[in-house]
Symmetry: C2
Subunit: 168 residues, 2 copies
Amino acid sequence: MSDPSPGLNSEQLGAYFALMEVSSLLQYAVDEHLRADGDLSYVQFQILARLVDAPEGRLRMTDLADGVVYSRSGLTYQAGLLEKRGLITRAPSPDDERSVMVTVTDAGRDLIAHVLPGHVERVRQLLFDPMKGRDLATLSGVLGRVREHMRATPPRSAKPRAGRNRAE
Amino acid sequence: MSDPSPGLNSEQLGAYFALMEVSSLLQYAVDEHLRADGDLSYVQFQILARLVDAPEGRLRMTDLADGVVYSRSGLTYQAGLLEKRGLITRAPSPDDERSVMVTVTDAGRDLIAHVLPGHVERVRQLLFDPMKGRDLATLSGVLGRVREHMRATPPRSAKPRAGRNRAE
DNA sequence: TATTGTTATACTCTATAACTATA
DNA sequence: TATAGTTATAGAGTATAACAATA
């Protein structure tokens, strides 16, 4: 924007735009690779990666939904796709009959293992290659702090004025 | 991921995840506000903002498509929506009869002006409030460098330059 | 022939609300 | 009642390919 912005100085505005552009391009590139190399969307990759990372390779649906931003029905949809491909299984939890435990299969682990090197390579190439010196450390520090702040500031519960989007 | 990754050390991996989470949460919050306050998607906001920022408030469809990542048909779709709402107009270019000049209307400018303060406020609140000292400067520096690098490294088939990939 | 843009179409994804069942 | 998950459905958005018009 060329006119003076009400709440951000030009350096902040520039940093904001840079952040959005960088993350957008990175996500685009990474998503492209995941689809080409493993027929996975980024969301599906995240779900599988979280499961691989979880103890015994399993998590409840709710826990998965908490990590990925989407709605429960959205997660059900994605889990259905992954299950259909044999990458995960779903079974009622022994502890709580309401819950569903999602477990990565060997095929799921294999796919992540197959896809991960190329994934990581793209990230390195696009994001870390141009960095030097303390760049990584400072970036880590700032983003970590921002993330903590964001996690403590729930984005959905804070609806200042939703006014008229009531489509009933 | 808990096991050692092939191409990234744990600090790099952490920074990558933090970047993706931060940008995702930020985009989510900002998108929510734009829809609630102006009934605009983030893409539509970007299109309007680019036009407002352009000399005489107009750009060719192709120039707009270059800025936003999407396909031409996607831009046509979005432009159709914005035109229907009276936020932009489309007219054949005098210079090149093939081109279409997109122009922001006063209503479009008004809407951006209406939405911008709240937009910027959310960004400030989520992204810049938790920063201190040199955070902003270092973030700016790193992201700027990464952005330059990314722009110079086209993600192989993302930019539909002059050629299209019909082989394969 | 190459470029600009639109259209037709199919598909993916996400959100909402209603629903079942368990706690 | 509250929580966990699914389903039905509807809508937004995107990509591809065919198309017309102009350069």
